[in-house]
């Protein structure tokens, strides 16, 4: 085993990771044994709130109900089946080694720590890799129709730059099938009376009693009524915050509201600046653009990325001979070629466009070309593998990717940052847990392809069912009712905020504020960041936020179905959160994973980490009081990261 590497960073006493030490391969087993249990007959005495019904939320709610707990589950869509997880395309990783190509738990652990650029906790990553196989078993037993070979056994593919084939998939709709599996488990518990499902409800605040999370305030989106729900623990499974950039591959409703509300009540927010830009998305077509569409990166297995060698190139793509094409990923990264990790591929595309080699009308695109694969394997084979993606591309752009190369450009896709959680997935607020993309736990500074689905389901099926019992077994949780002052106070605070939004009656639309925020974030805090730009962004966001609270126009009333009001609340929270994201990016004086500071790069324009000073998770504590927002009131706490098993090395994808 490699020699331990300790960082010089001073750890904050407020951040107890509760991760076991010693042999990494037995940590989870030992930890499970040390956790206190709730006896089977007592489980029915505990109530759990699960906010969010994506992979993390549905799997958690179903599994906890199976154990005997009483669960209430919430989502803002009209059905739990529509959570954003449904949109995941490419697949889910599991170290089954069915392909006999050298995969193992250790290899996935290693790949994930390295891929995350050494900014994740080793204990968590090892656990994630080791439960990955159970996840696939569980999904298959629910009837998830994963792709199979002719012999009837499961098929695998290599995905997102992995050098082994460990990705399980269901057409290009893996997220859909996994979510429908988890949703069916959830609805089964609804049928059995152990889960009560509340759709079209938006969580607007957290209820805390004596510092412990004891419930939530939601708005019924159909009637506009405010409801309070109390419980013995609250699980946030509310997804990522990519929409702070306005344009992203996330569903339109994705938001930071639930996490941000909890942050303002004491949950530390970790590594918000770790955001992932996905290299293969359909480029922006105009000002009307409302979201960006991802083209699964499995396309990079067969498509070749290039730009013309001449900046002023006027010929159509197909008429440009190979000698005049720059296959820049293959040129720069001999070993990995088109399969380099997402952050590396995205930055290379941006660099090509910044240097004037971009293609298409906006010049903010590069080609992804299947010509050679079609020549080699035939159009039918390509259609078999990527038919639905090609069709989607054609629908959106009006172009035929079989005959002209696709145009692609990077877009915001995933957020590694999130609420800080310990090894038990508990936030810094006792009784408040955070699962899935909403937490910061396993991906460090960059997430590998097909690992988010794995993490969401690991958290929900195989981690929280073990860890939550410890909270019940070791805490005093006196019964509280809806007329408890803390409950009433939280409801009143949520109501007041909604009324405030409705009362401004300004002249600028919610949408326009969101777009303006997104533009600042993307330009100053997107694929490349620098000190001057980030400082400028901090001021711009504060100014925009002030304008929002004096000039936003929110239509309609609070006592009805009002989508404009829903969006206003989410944008208001993004306007506060965006400032923290930028501040975190400014504070992290290094480049790592998805966070690229222009001041910190090698001569070859590769990211330059600073392990001496930044080998830590940055967890921010809001100190400004939950009922208002005061900028610059964030205090930094550090959780040092030690690498005892995977050597801290510079990532290299060149050789």
């Amino acid at each position: 085993m490699a020699e331990g590497h300790a960082t010089t960073t001073q750890g904050s006493p407020r951040l107890q990771s509760n991760a076991p030490t010693g042999d990494v391969t037995t940590r989870w087993d030992r930890h499970k044994f040390d956790l206190k249990l709730v006896n089977p007959a007592n489980k029915r005495k505990f109530n759990i709130i699960v906010v969010g019904t994506g992979l993390a939320g549905s799997s958690a709610a179903a599994s906890l109900a199976e154990l005997g707990y009483n669960v209430k589950a919430f989502c803002f869509q009209d059905s739990p089946r529509r959570a954003h997880s449904i949109a995941a395309q490419g697949g889910i990783n599991a170290t089954k080694n069915y392909c006999n190509d050298g995969d193992s738990v250790w290899r996935l652990f290693y790949d994930t720590v390295k891929g995350g650029d050494f900014r994740a906790r080793e204990s968590n990553v090892y656990r994630l890799a080791s439960v990955s196989t159970n996840i696939v078993d569980q999904c298959v037993s629910q009837g998830v129709p994963f792709q199979r070979d002719y012999g009837g056994l499961l098929a695998n593919r290599s995905f997102g730059g992995a050098q082994v084939s460990r990705t399980f998939y269901a057409r290009g709709q893996t997220g859909q099938q996994l979510l429908l599996g988890a949703y069916s488990a959830l609805m089964r518990q609804v049928d059995l009376g152990k889960v009560k499902m509340f759709a079209r409800r938006e969580m607007l605040d957290l209820i805390q009693v004596d510092g412990v999370a004891r419930g939530i305030v939601v708005r019924n989106l159909i009637t506009g009524e405010f409801e309070s729900h109390t419980a013995d623990a609250v699980l946030l499974c509310t997804g990522g915050y990519g929409n702070v950039f306005y344009l992203s591959t996330n569903a339109k409703g994705c938001n930071v509201t639930a996490a941000w509300r909890c942050h303002k009540r004491g949950a530390f927010f970790a590594n918000p600046c770790f955001t992932q830009i996905h290299p293969t998305c359909i480029p922006v077509s105009g000002d009307h653009q409302s979201k960006l569409t991802l083209m699964s990166e499995s396309l990079r297995n067969d498509g070749r990325v290039w730009v013309p060698k001449n900046p002023g190139e006027a010929r159509p793509a197909n008429e440009i001979p190979d000698d005049d094409r720059d296959y820049f990923l293959e040129r720069r990264y001999a070993a990995f070629g088109n399969l380099v990790p997402r952050d590396v591929a995205s930055r290379a595309a941006k660099k090509a466009c910044d240097e004037g080699f971009g293609v298409g009308e906006t010049k903010l695109a590069v080609y992804l070309d299947f010509r050679d694969t079609i020549k080699r394997d035939g159009a039918a084979v390509v259609k078999g593998k990527y038919g639905n993606l090609f069709q989607m591309y054609a629908k959106i752009t009006g172009e035929d990717p079989y005959s002209t190369p696709m145009r692609i450009y990077p877009a915001v896709h995933y957020t590694m940052g999130g609420l800080w959680v310990d090894y038990n997935l508990q936030t810094t607020i006792p009784g408040l847990y955070c699962l899935g993309e909403a937490n910061f736990s396993d991906h460090g500074a960059n997430r590998l392809g097909a690992s988010a689905l794995m993490q969401g389901l690991a958290d929900g099926y195989f981690v929280i069912p073990y860890t939550i019992g410890h909270h019940f077994a070791t805490s005093k949780l006196p019964k509280i009712t809806d007329d408890h002052p803390e409950v009433r106070g939280a409801v009143e605070a949520a109501k007041a905020r909604v009324n405030k939004l409705l009362g401004i009656k300004g002249s600028r639309s919610v949408e326009s504020f969101h777009r303006a925020l997104g533009k600042i974030m993307w330009e100053k805090c997107g694929m490349a960041r620098n000190e001057a730009g980030l400082k400028f962004a901090e001021q711009e966001i504060a100014a925009l936020r002030n304008e929002f609270w004096s000039n936003v126009r929110v239509m309609g009333s609070g006592e009805a179905f009002n989508q404009n009001l829903e969006r206003a609340g989410r944008v208001a929270d993004f306007l506060e959160f965006g400032e923290l994201l930028v501040h975190d990016a400014l504070t992290r004086e290094e480049s790592c994973g998805g966070h690229f500071r222009e001041e910190h790069q090698t001569e070859d324009n590769e990211a330059k980490r600073n392990d001496a000073d930044f080998c830590h998770a940055a967890a921010w504590e809001y100190t400004g009081g939950h009922d208002s927002f005061v900028g610059q009131k964030e205090q930094l706490h550090k959780e040092p990261l030690t690498f005892e098993n995977v050597h801290l090395t510079t990532r290299s994808y060149r050789e």
Partner: protein, 260 residues
């Protein structure tokens, strides 16, 4: 397919169903749109309309959506009488304005079915679908019960048929397109997916009887084989699944002890 980057501005007349609430009376209102880019999606066109309405101080049109990628099943809309509009295998969020012509009048309505009551304008309540799944659209397996994923081989043919049924996005277009507002295509998709797999077999009789009973209870109509559902389905779920549903149902009622 149009030439790349051909921007044409369309002038359109929209006739949109406006209904302030579930119990309020609804009516069509007419809106003129100028210079609509053909690169816009249909929902982006409605976003632009809503921005214009807000600027004028009018209430924006309510309509459901989330992913805008054709997979979550949240968007809906009858467009000129067709569920999800004129393109086959395409949800409203994936429909693009290049499909329309300058000067067109477009009539936009909510899904119409008594089992899908209108919430507001174009947004409807589809919770009936969740209740049908709750009645049996699952395999009873607790977390941790599973054996190794490769223990039960599934022939590729079956797996592909199962996947084709599982592709249903639960949008409700099948119900909206059917003159009887039947939910048979939706129910058959789930019943087929699970009946085709070994994992689904132990509960097949109970599943189909309970799901069909719930479907009837929700007030969906019967199937008279007009296949409008299949034509409207953005996920291309085939009506052969309805035939399988009927077989499964018969089998359950005739053969199974727990069937009726």
């Amino acid at each position: 397919m149009t030439t790349p980057h051909a921007h044409r501005g369309l002038n359109l007349t929209l006739k949109i169903w406006r209904q302030p609430g579930p119990n309020a009376r609804g009516e069509f209102r007419t809106y003129e749109m100028q210079n609509v880019s053909t690169d816009m999606s249909f929902l982006e066109m409605l976003d632009v309309l809503n921005e214009q309405l807000i600027a004028k101080g009018e209430e924006p049109v309510a309509f459901d959506y989330d992913c805008r990628e054709g997979i979550c099943g949240m968007c809906s809309l009858m467009i000129n009488g067709q569920a999800h509009g004129p393109d086959r295998a395409t949800t409203t969020c994936q429909l693009h304005m290049r499909r329309f012509s300058d000067g067109d009048t477009i009539v936009i309505e909510p899904w119409r079915a008594s089992a899908f009551p209108v919430i507001r304008d174009l947004a409807v309540d589809r919770s009936a679908f969740d209740r049908i799944i709750t009645a049996g659209g699952y395999v009873s397996v607790n977390t941790g019960n599973a054996q190794d994923a490769n223990c039960l081989p599934v022939g590729r043919d079956r797996q592909e048929k199962s996947m084709a049924a599982a592709a249903c996005i639960g949008c409700g277009a099948c119900v909206a397109a059917c003159k009887n507002a039947s939910a048979m295509l939706f129910v058959s998709a789930k019943v087929s997916q699970l009946a085709l797999l070994p994992q689904g077999v132990p509960e097949r009789a109970r599943r189909v009887t309970r799901m069909v009973a719930q479907m009837d209870k929700e007030g969906f109509g019967g199937c008279t084989n007009t296949y409008e559902c299949e034509a409207a389905c953005p996920a291309e779920v085939s009506v052969t699944n309805i035939a399988r549903l009927n077989r499964e149902y018969l089998r359950a009622v005739v053969v199974s002890e727990e069937g009726v």
